[in-house]
């Protein structure tokens, strides 16, 4: 009768001296794993986004949250005139990154995406460019 009670208290006592699992956010901050799928970023190369506006990410996106509009630059090359991700719709599945044929898109470890206005959740190209 008394033994089970002692066993239980033993476990409680053990946990009292273990490192706590809970993070005291925001005082303490987690380090996301390398394959964490946070906010998207458009990779930059030679001072411009690598994206060639092939439309594969909006095609594959199951949440239909990506809007791309292609444009023609001075060299007659294709680039993304408009690139928007609506994070309110995004389900962070990462298919867009997988689909990208030119490795122009990645998902960063940024997870603090709360905001006050709906409009602020629409990430236009300038906000998405890799810093």
């Amino acid at each position: 009768m008394i033994m089970p009670l002692i066993n239980g208290l033993k476990i409680t006592l053990k946990h009292l001296f273990m490192k706590p699992v809970t993070l005291q956010y925001p005082d303490e901050r987690p380090t996301p794993s390398p394959n964490y799928r946070g906010l998207h970023a458009l990779k930059v190369s030679h001072n411009r986004a690598k994206c060639v506006a092939c439309y594969l990410c909006p095609t594959v996106c199951p949440a239909k949250c990506i809007t791309v509009e292609a444009g023609e630059d001075q060299n007659h090359d294709k680039y993304a005139e408009r690139y928007e991700i609506d994070l309110l719709r995004c389900i962070f599945c990462g298919y867009c990154v997988e689909a990208c044929p030119v490795d122009a898109l990645k998902m960063t470890d940024q997870f603090e995406l709360a905001n006050y206005k709906r409009e602020d959740f629409v990430f236009v190209k300038e906000r998405l460019l890799e810093k």
């Binding site: 060639v52 506006a53 092939c54 439309y55 909006p58 095609t59 292609a70 444009g71 023609e72 044929p101």
Partner: protein, 828 residues
Amino acid sequence: MVNLTIDGKQVTVPKDATIYDAAKSAGIKIPILCHDKKLHPFGGCRMCLVEVEQMKGRQIPACTTPVTEGMIVSTMTPEIVKARKLVLELLLLKHPIDCPVCDAAGDCDLQNLTYEYEVNANRFQDEKFQHKIDYENPLIERDMNRCVHCGKCARICDEIVSYGAYSFLNRGLEAKIGTEFDGPLNCEFCGSCVSVCPVGALISRPFKFKARWWSLNKVKTVCSYCGTGCQLTLGVKDNKVLTTIYDENQGFHNGQLCTRGRFGYQFVNSDKRLTTPLVKKNGRLEQATWDEALGLVRQRLSEAKIAGGATVAGLVTPRLTNEELYLFKKLFGQGLGSDNIDHSAGYAHEALTAGASESLGYPASPASISDIQATDLLLVVKSDAYETHPVLGFEVNLGVKRKGVNLRIVSDKKGKLSRLPNAATYIHRPGSEVVLFNALAKVIVEEGLADSTATSLPGYAELVQSLSAYAPTAVAGQCGMSADDITALAREYAKAEKALILLPIGIGYPGHGKVLAQSVINLALLTGKIGKEGCGVLIMGEKNNSQGAADLGIHPVAGGRDAAGILEGCVSGAIKTLYVVGENPVVSYPNRKKVESALDSVEFLVVQDLFLTETASKADVVLPACSFAEKNGTFTSVGKAVQKVRKAIAPIGMARSDFEIFSDLYSSLGGEVPKGLDATFNEIAAEVPSYSGLTLEKLGENGSVYPVTNKPRFMPVVGSAQESTAGAMALVTGSALNHCGTLSLYGEGPMYVCPEGYIELNNGDATKLGVEEGQSVTVRSSVGEVKLKAKVSMRLPAGVVFSPYHFSDMSINGITDGASVTWVTISK
């Protein structure tokens, strides 16, 4: 028929079929890159290799090998797959892997085959091509680095379009598809090459980077430019028509389109489209609500109705659907009690509504489009038949080159058709067509070449009598042709077993009216060439539904005013309310000054259009209407095919379809509007004899050609010589290849290639006048004067000048007055 076995399946095909055709008919897919069903077999890509047991298992191309009895064919052995993979590897050696930025991706034969045959590595290595990309023209971009040398572009341009813009240059590894002297492309820009290119070597620039192929919604409909009735697939995304898509199985033309059909769709989503009704307030057109605008129109119409209907008139464009035209007629006939309705300036439909109607008993052509390739001798009135109906021009090309059709052209100038093999062009004096056709008939009567059935037709005796003054020797001078030529042409026509006459009509051709149509039909009746396959007269209505407007009788039928009468009535005050739907008389009807003063003086002008045209800007109320891409309905083509138009996008802005607007007005006048399109079409079928038995459902994918019963009679006609003015030049008007009516002015494609009006003159005349290409000249007639750019060419005879009629700026109707020939003087 030949029996053979393909992959264990028994197949029976005609003896002129190839293995590829046989496999296709059995539902077996053989991959191809260089083959197209419209073109002669080429056998260049080696993708369609198959094994034939009788040929000791050798691999032979399926697209060029004819079938033989008892052949045993395998299309998918491991050896064949290996060979096809090798072909793909070799192609991918040079082909850049830039699918992400290539517009062909998704619709690329090479991409699809690479995926299907799982070619994901290459055993070979080589450098890619480094050809210069041709960005110079605004419609077709040529990136020869992507070319796989299938030669389809060169072949379609030669075989079907008969332009010959492309050819293979150099040999071996250096071979490439090039243009003349390897310069930038400068052709008629029909885009046929773009449509057949299996990769992205040729792409449409207006569509470049606009959307990916797979994201487009494809809507099958009918082109809204000329009367040919080409079927069209629109590529639609986000309520925008972004491109036209090639579908080789569409229509009699197998998806083939002309420059305006393929590149002229931009008017649908043009920024210039009207999005709200406009009402004139204090002399200015201001935005208004539908209630306000329609309220004004309703009030005017009900007043006119009470006054008896004679003070109201309507001009409508034959670009509307049959259902809309029918409702328009009802609105005026039953609703208002007015017979003052007309279209196409009144004269441009006469060939059908008066000419054919009186001679044959129905306002349509006694022939269909399929007759063009089935005939032996094709007599084209005016080389412009190519410019007015380019896809029918392709049919002529195919007939002449593949079926051995003899082409004879009687025209006031040479044209592209004149250059076809064995084509003979007889240049006559402008405006002498009727005299010439009477002379041809005279020769046939004189020489006893008339068909035995002709003498028993009503009016034969009168015809013979009326022809007495038209002996070739007597009228040779008037026609400007030698008597021998006239006689020879008449004999040729009469002796041909099957002969077809093409007669283009339109606002640009005031001479092609009732009289000419009847003299042409007389000739055909005289030789018994009506009512048989490959025979007849094809009267080619100008607009997409000109034939439908003629069938429905959108013209005065009980003594009402015709177009000219309506405009006169506006000036005299007899017409107080004018309702213009889609027409732009200020630019297209003859004598601009007269039209403008008529529209200025009419009390109340309502214009219903897509754009704020020159006519609409004079209106008291402007109603925004829908383009063909925003509505369902039917168009009737030159060849009497009733075809379905399908809605591709929602109306732009607040625009409403003409059907809705007419319904509203008609019901406000107390009329009962048919419920929906089906009911309207059924009413049409009940009222128009030739449509009887048709329903929207029965029309199906490809439409339906309605039959006609001939009640032929001869209608003797008098042709008069053109009186010339000393020292003046003969101005003839017509269509430019890139344009159709005034609608194409709002399409970017046509405007890139042909942005403004011009006056074309013979190089001899140009030297005499000291005029150079591109120089601005003043053209003066008794009506007025205009300044136009000169275009110097060799196709016009001396003393004749040509100008297209579509353009609003310095429009040629500033100097014409509805005569078939206008006498002008040209000065620098």
